[in-house]
Amino acid sequence: MTLDVRAAQRFPSGFAVDVMLACDLRGGSMLVLFGPSGAGKTTILRQIAGLERPDRGSIRFGDDVWFDSARGAWCPPQGRRLGVVFQQPTLFPHLSVLDNIRYGGVRHVSDTVMPLVADIAARPTKQLSGGEAQRVSLARALARGPQLLLLDEPFASVDTPTRSRLRRDLRSLLQQLETPAILVTHDRTEAMAMGDLVAVVIDGRIRQVGAVADVFSHPADAAVAASLGVESVLPARVTAASQGLLTVAIGAAALHVAEREPIAVGAHVYACIRAEDVTLETAQDAGHASVRNHLGGTIVSIASEGPIDRVTLDCGFALDALITRRSRDELQLVPGSRVTAAIKATSVHLVPLG
């Protein structure tokens, strides 16, 4: 299903959003709206939900026209067949957990959704913890079989272990139900863990849209880079674990990574490497240091960033290194040179998917 948003809206406070977003949301895939607080992510989500009416523009999803200022078309939230989970739980306090889930005219709660709340279905609504209440909110949003699920930082008020459990549950549920979703977050780990596509929102505008690994590794401009934090973000898989050291495979190459949190062998992860943590050596002087990882590669390009040069390597995957102009001169690095990239095992951060 194609989501196409072109919406401009100005608020009495002076805050304004001007959104241009077109992307293909397949069943089970997730678009992350990522950006700093106050960038307008929630406003964009509310426009898509029909809770804000833009001043002008259009919003379409698949064949449905939800808003078109040129034709005066407007579909209220009731007609959009959406599921929405807000930042704070919005359970109806006077209804039971099950009545909350059935609220939107649901007769039978499906066997896919029910396990989400099976352990708390009998509890009084007012006594649920924040995480439990968000599980019910999620079940309520999914129970009607929405064509699109909208999530506004749904796990922000939830403690960390519960949050990772909720993320996993949500991810597998959406894949089972084949429901596309849009998630608002300012947490980069969450963006990487949950997103298939990411749209970077800065100052009310969408600055870049693309696959998570692409956007995080290749920010379109300096503002996007600053909001993301510049790193190489590489899809990888954990192949072995021993004595606090994980081995991850990135294509044909392998990296040793210090294990900060338990990750199962076989898990799919993103390996994140900051360019300033990558040291370059020429083939001759590969010495005996404490650095665990030595990757052979070819220099693809060198870009000057003031006194620092950004060297992009091909080591079977693309990897950026930051070095000083002086080191470049001493090592006589030019595009095409063979070098070895050294990366400490503690400099690689792994983000498990889902």
Partner: protein, 222 residues
């Protein structure tokens, strides 16, 4: 004690409360949820009886329903008799007089319902009116009870408006407060004190139960 007057007052207060329940809830809904900017004008009009002397309100109602006004003449043509000095005329005046005591507690409570709950309901496909019925009303039950009790108690004790619009016809418009005034005028302090005491006790019980309700003495906290 003037049981006829007491019975009339109870009937008037009950009828007034029922009417206010029927028109006060839609009015409060409109005041809270309408996007109209000039709605403060309506709010001010509803609140007028709080500050206006009852005789002033009564005077205007009397003029408005009297034989000189089109409304009064139209009613007289349909009903066969005029509105002034009848139970219906009294009811109309009481509804206007007690309106803020119903509409204000209703609207305060409607406005205090978390707006995010309403948005959640809309995104679940439930219309605005249905959302009001299924979410706002149940969560506002205390405000509705206060409004009902206050308008009942307020009507029970009204004097100036009744005197202007209804006069003093036994069994028709002589309410309990007018009966007390009559007793004092004719120096029958015994009857006056009995009726006054009864009214005092009833009013106190009604208010005490309302405040108790709001402090959650009997209702479980939500």
């Amino acid at each position: 004690m003037d049981w006829t007057a007491l019975w009339l007052s109870v009937r008037l207060a009950t009828a007034t409360t029922v009417v206010l329940l029927a028109i006060g809830i839609p009015m409060a809904y409109w005041i809270v949820f309408s996007p109209r900017r000039w709605k403060f004008v309506i709010e001010a009009i509803v609140a007028l009886p709080l500050v206006l002397p009852p005789t002033v309100l009564g005077f205007y109602v009397l003029i408005a329903i009297g034989p000189l006004s089109p409304v009064g003449r139209a009613y007289a043509r349909i009903a066969g008799h005029g509105l002034p000095f009848t139970f219906e005329g009294l009811l109309l005046a009481s509804v206007l007089y007690s309106m803020p005591f119903a509409v204000q507690p209703f609207s305060t409570e409607f406005a205090s319902v978390d707006r995010r709950l309403l948005e959640a309901s809309w995104t679940l496909g439930v219309s605005r009116l249905e959302t009001f019925r299924r979410i706002v009303l149940p969560l506002s039950i205390r405000g509705i009870v206060s409004g009902v009790v206050l308008s009942f108690a307020h009507t029970l004790g009204e004097f100036g408006v009744v005197l202007m619009v209804g006069g003093n016809l036994p069994g028709v418009t002589r309410t309990v407060s007018i009966s007390i005034y009559d007793s004092v005028q004719s120096l029958d302090y015994g009857a006056a004190s009995q009726t006054s005491l009864l009214l005092l006790i009833v009013s106190f019980l009604i208010l005490a139960s309302t405040y108790g309700l709001q402090r959650s003495v009997w209702v479980k906290p939500r």
